[in-house]
């Protein structure tokens, strides 16, 4: 039981990271990015290729994948999604669905359907906790990186001009434009940031679980859950939602994990549809 609690909590940090990019795009661009799960897996594969190719630790590949995914997000939003959104939200939604299929099949074509995994040197280490079980070092590192990412992102949104302009745009885009904010460009930056978090999430989940070209949809569902439980635009909410989801899944084990996660989700939607931390 104690071991499961530890595992669940450690998983929560990663789940929050999986969900935060989705939450941002939902709250700021008002778009449901159905390709978010695939972007996470794409990042995991990128990390794998770079790690093997350059002989780097998967953690160090973040130096390359994070900026790369940011640029992909920024360009994607500016070249494609912004134009589609002028015609309403449905075309953009469909295009993200299309993107998810394209990414998935491209990965299948290049990497085949075999399982892949990111290997780190401290894979098997763990810290004993007396009789309370053990803390796996890998999961601890992954969880801390997740929390740290959310913390830095929160700081960025709160303390910088660009961060404030992102929050202002999500509050009232006309008023934001009147303050000198180029709203479309801000959407681009938001999408870039969302994919940058997806890059980190991809490497993290790739280190703790095996992944295939088709694993993305599973992470999309987790991201959805985090959005619903945490409410939009609240980093604290995202973190707590990640923990709730992580715990629910671990306590349910491999048989009931997803089921319990979704029961929590349904109860949330019925009782507090705006999310736990929405203002």
């Amino acid at each position: 039981m104690a071991q499961q609690l530890i595992n669940g909590i450690l998983l929560g940090g990663v789940y929050a990271l999986v969900g935060v990019g989705m939450t941002m795009i939902f709250g700021i661009v008002q778009l449901t990015n159905l390709a978010h799960g695939e972007f996470i897996i794409l990042a995991a594969y990128l990390s794998s290729v770079i790690s093997v190719g350059l002989g780097l630790s998967p953690l160090l590949t973040l130096i390359i994948t994070v900026p790369l995914m940011f640029v992909i997000g920024y360009i994607l939003q500016n070249v494609l999604i912004n134009k589609l959104m002028e015609r309403g939200s449905e075309p953009a939604l469909l295009v993200t669905f299309g993107l998810s299929i394209i990414i998935q099949n491209a990965l299948l074509l290049i990497f085949s359907a075999d399982a892949n995994r990111l290997i780190v040197s401290f894979q098997a280490l763990s810290i004993p906790l007396g009789g309370m079980g053990r803390i796996p070092v890998l999961n601890l590192v992954v969880c801390l990186i997740g929390i740290a990412t959310l913390f830095v992102l929160n700081l960025f949104l709160k303390k910088t001009y660009i961060g404030r302009s992102i929050r202002a745009t999500s509050d009232d885009k006309v008023a934001a434009a009147l303050m000198g904010v180029n709203v479309k460009q801000t959407y681009g930056i938001a999408m870039g940031l969302a994919l940058a978090t997806a890059a980190i999430a991809g490497t993290m989940v790739g280190m703790i679980y095996p992944f295939y070209p088709s694993t993305g949809s599973g992470y999309l569902i987790i991201a959805f859950g985090v959005v619903v439980i945490g409410g939009m635009g609240s980093i604290t909410g995202t973190l707590v939602a990640g923990f709730i989801f992580g715990l629910a899944q671990v306590l349910g084990g491999s048989n009931y994990g997803l089921l319990i996660g979704y029961l929590v989700l349904i109860v949330m939607l019925a009782v507090r549809p705006q999310g736990l931390f929405a203002k």
Partner: protein, 237 residues
């Protein structure tokens, strides 16, 4: 710089085929206060939205500091020194008062002096300093208008457009806000007041324009316009 900070020439604006502004022309002399009055639906707000770049005019020209700004995006126009305080304040309700104000200094040229400007805004509206860490969504209507005005000042504009600043506010608060507006003007900022509260805005302004059904139907120096003229133009009878 030309004598008029703003010149609106034959502007028309539509929403689809809904004609909101038919043919509006007016000038704002540098460092003056100009009021635009008219009943609800006369097209005043749409005209202001056109000037600030929120809405694209279907015809006509708008010049600011001698430059043609017709059809430029809103974020470009505010960078040139023209700021709109929109109707209903439109504060960023999930941001604190101070973050709202800092957002006002978003244009690159305004960031340098932001700290001293913030102090000035707090001097102008001391209540905002008290509530600097509160979410603007928790403020009263009058306080939100103060945030909106302060936010606009933070961009260090040469011209501020106030769209229905007194709408829904108690008379004492309106009086207070108007005295602040005169203060802002006295420090060299040109002002346009769009109002339904006719008497107060005419009294405050140097020039007045009455709008009716999308057109300017009466213009002149405020002290020369008689109450009768204004009333007839306002009601169109």
């Amino acid at each position: 710089m030309s004598e008029n900070i703003l010149a609106i020439e034959n502007v028309a604006a539509r929403y689809g085929d809904f004609l909101a502004v038919q043919d509006a022309s007016l000038c704002v002399p540098n460092k003056s206060i100009v009021s635009i009055i008219g009943s609800n639906g006369a097209g005043k707000s749409t005209l202001m939205d056109c000037v600030a770049g929120v809405h694209k005019p279907s015809s006509g020209r708008i010049f600011f500091k001698g430059e043609d700004i017709t059809g430029l995006p809103a974020y470009e126009i505010v960078r040139r020194g023209l700021s709109l305080v929109p109707q209903g304040s439109r504060c960023f309700v999930r941001m604190t008062v101070e973050d709202n104000l800092i957002m006002g200094s978003f244009p690159g040229c305004a960031r340098k002096g932001a700290t001293s400007m913030l102090e000035k805004v707090y001097e102008l509206f001391p209540v905002l300093k008290e509530k600097r860490n509160d979410l603007s969504g928790s403020l009263s209507g009058g306080q939100r208008q103060m945030v909106a005005i302060g936010r606009s000042l933070m961009s260090q504009p040469d011209l501020i457009l106030f769209d229905e600043i007194s709408l829904g506010l108690a008379p004492t608060i309106i009086k207070d806000i108007y005295s602040r507006i005169r203060q802002i003007n006295a420090e060299g900022t040109s002002i346009v007041l769009v109002e339904q509260d006719v008497k107060r805005s005419v009294k405050t302004s140097d020039y007045s324009h009455v709008m009716l059904k999308g057109k300017i139907v009466l213009s002149g120096p405020s002290r020369e316009l008689t109450e009768e003229d204004i009333k007839n133009a306002y009601f169109g009878i």
